[in-house]
């Protein structure tokens, strides 16, 4: 069986035009490139991965997000072939690859540490996968220079030592090296986590841009939700070895399937339903019965009412909302274009309210203030 990476020789100019031609929406040919079936991995009785199923479209940018220990690193190591699964299957297009060693899989990974070769120059690092395939030195060099261009590094970096490069430059070298391999799928294991905030923000956008220009399938692992939201088409939330939810960023943010996802996806106000028969009611807040009925809330609903801080507003005296409560403003945080208030309700629960800066209010410590939101801006998390 030979499913080694299709040795597309770096064909100089032709290759560049291929990349230019790849300036197209990412889901043009939405055919699954990767299929993961019931993938399971246990280490000495500990289940790191508990039957994961996943289908990734060709050209997609998928982010896998989860807290540390959720199994995301195990998953990526199985997918690139550095670990062997306990059971399950991995399919790349029409071939099963889970029994193929990493060096024969047409996939490659950008490591968290980048794993650049310190004894090789920038150019030699980028050329490494081509050298391994026995590509002619002149062609190798031409391809490396093209890739330097693609990752926005000046051509004279070709001969530079890795130790002379800054953190951001090393990221680009690692990326160029992975692209030189010309993988079917490019994996990322939190490569930006060690960078400072500004550089990270910049590289996130560049990576997204690069994804669009190359048209390759990117699978990106991170514990940072923001990173995932900025870059990816779809996000998978992992929790103790399983996918908790998988979908477009917007859907996961606005319509989480569980409290875990809701809380993981940033700040959130959650109100648990009271289970006491007759009417619909939630902890800490009063809900207008008419609005609840209109929203389809029946007595006996069990689960949570969720409102993101930006859906909640501070009520002027006499103003009404579907869901209301009164509390004391505890603190105000300026977030630049936004401003956040922490309001402590009588029950002790703290509601987070986020307004745009123009709507900033004047308040005094200990001042009583009404908070509320309408049900059409809230989300109901039905308990499983």
């Amino acid at each position: 069986m030979n499913i080694a990476a299709p040795v597309r020789l770096p064909a100089g100019k032709a290759d560049l035009s291929r990349q230019a031609e790849a300036l197209r929406p990412t889901h043009m040919n939405a055919q699954p490139i990767l299929r993961v079936v019931d993938l399971k991995k246990t280490f000495d009785g500990f289940t790191a991965l508990d039957s994961v199923n996943l289908t990734v479209d060709d050209g997609e940018f998928l982010a896998i997000v989860g807290p540390s220990g959720s199994g995301k690193t195990t998953l990526i190591r199985l997918l690139v072939g550095m670990e062997e699964q306990t059971s399950g299957e991995i399919w790349l297009r029409d071939s099963r690859i889970d029994n193929v060693p990493a060096n024969k899989r047409p996939t490659c990974m950008v490591f968290q540490s980048l794993a650049l070769f310190p004894h090789r120059s920038v150019g030699e690092n980028i050329e490494f996968p081509l050298k391994i395939r026995g590509v002619d030195p002149a062609l190798r060099r031409a391809r490396a220079l093209e890739l330097l261009d693609l990752v926005r590094l000046p051509q004279h970096y070709y001969g530079k030592r890795i130790q002379q490069c800054s953190g951001g430059e090393r990221q680009r070298v690692a990326l160029a090296r992975a692209l030189a391999f010309d993988p079917e799928i490019l994996f990322f294991d939190e490569p930006l986590s060690a960078l400072d905030f500004r550089l990270r923000k910049m590289l996130e956008k560049e990576l997204k841009d690069l994804h669009q220009r190359t048209g390759k399938t990117f699978i990106y692992i991170t514990h940072s939700l923001e990173e995932a939201m900025v870059m990816s088409d779809r996000i998978a939330i992992m929790r103790s070895g399983r996918f908790e939810q998988l979908g477009p960023a917007e859907e996961i943010y606005a319509k989480p399937k569980s409290r875990f996802v809701a809380e993981f996806m940033g700040e959130v106000n959650l109100f648990r339903a009271n289970g006491n028969g007759g009417t619909v009611s939630f902890e800490h807040v009063t809900v207008d019965p008419a609005a609840a009925a209109k929203r389809g809330l029946r007595p006996g609903f069990s689960g949570d009412l969720m409102a993101r801080p930006e859906s909640v507003r501070l009520l002027k005296p006499g103003e009404r909302a579907d869901v209301m409560a009164t509390g004391i403003v505890e603190s105000e945080y300026l977030l630049g274009s936004r401003v956040q208030y922490l309001v402590r309700l009588a029950s002790g629960y703290k509601v987070t309210v986020e307004l745009s800066r123009e709507n900033r209010v004047t308040w005094e410590p200990g001042q009583s203030m009404g908070v509320g939101f309408d049900l059409d801006r809230a989300h109901l998390i039905q308990e499983a």
Partner: protein, 284 residues
């Protein structure tokens, strides 16, 4: 302050300097001086000539030097090949078992080299362990396994194994795991990972290990005497005999100086090409 530090530095280095000058440099100078004395004199108060060096070439002593160097090369190469997997396992695979192995290997150094070699003589000689058992089981006899060049090289490999093993393990420990994994992920096979990543990144350990074993084996004498018998005569043996049995100090000195020059130039070539700071862990 800096001047005081400097003066203190000179003062504290003084004892070592004196010791090295008296114990190391002075004898070397005496040997160097004797090497240019006429034949068979026991005093430095003679007119210098180069008759010893001429004799060394005419009488074929250089053959012994070549034999020594060839065996040193062979032993160093064999040691590298057999120590690499073991050193790799010690640095990357064994974990806590490495300590047991280290203690085991170091323990062999506690027993004198000659005694260990005599053990091998008893094992390999005619009527020894191997030949004796073979004879009693099959009824056939053979000449024993001693007194040839391969057995001398075997002895060198056996005695100098720790001097290759530990620097190699040290060097391999310096190769980052993810660099190896990245190479594997980028399509390299086992051999390519070795050639492109492990070998260059562990070069300081390799250089130190090869240098130490080469220098030690080039000057080794016990292996060829005890295991090799009269099969070949190594250069150290010639030097020893010139000073003792031959009563020709100038010849012995000339041989010694030549050996020092040859091995020393190899050593200097090696040392200038490695980064000792890196292997001592002072920088990455």
């Amino acid at each position: 302050m800096e001047r005081i530090n400097q003066r203190l530095g000179v003062l504290s280095a003084l004892p070592v300097v004196v010791f090295l000058a008296a114990g190391f440099l002075a004898p070397l100078c005496v040997v160097a001086a004797f090497s240019i004395m006429p034949q068979k004199v026991f005093s430095l108060a003679n007119l210098p000539d180069f008759s010893s060096y001429a004799l060394m070439i005419q009488e074929g002593y250089w053959e012994s030097l070549l034999v020594s160097l060839a065996m040193a090369f062979a032993a160093t190469f064999i040691l590298f090949v057999i120590c690499w997997p073991l050193a790799f396992a010690m640095a990357k695979v064994f974990g806590r078992f490495t300590l047991v192995l280290t203690i085991g290997v170091v323990m062999t150094l506690f027993v004198s080299e000659n005694i260990r070699l005599f053990g091998w003589v008893l094992t390999l000689m005619k009527g020894g362990l191997i030949e004796g058992y073979w004879r009693s089981w099959t009824g056939q006899s053979f000449d024993g396994l001693l007194y040839n060049v391969p057995v001398i090289i075997f002895g060198l490999v056996y005695v100098y194994l720790p001097f290759m093993l530990f620097p190699l393990a040290q060097g391999i420990a310096m190769v980052p795991d993810d660099a190896r994994q990245a190479a594997f992920d980028l399509g390299a096979n086992r051999w390519q990972i070795f050639r492109e990543v492990e070998l260059p990144l562990s070069a300081p350990g390799i250089a130190v290990g090869c240098l130490i074993t080469f220098v030690l084996t080039a000057g080794a004498i016990a292996e060829s005497k005890l295991l090799g018998g009269r099969a070949v005569i190594v250069i150290s043996d010639e030097i020893e005999r010139s000073f003792t049995y031959g009563q020709n100090w100038p010849l012995g000195s000339a041989l010694a100086m030549t050996l020092i020059a040859v091995v020393g130039s190899f050593a200097i070539f090696g040392v200038t090409r490695i980064d000792l700071d890196a292997i001592m862990g002072r920088k990455r």
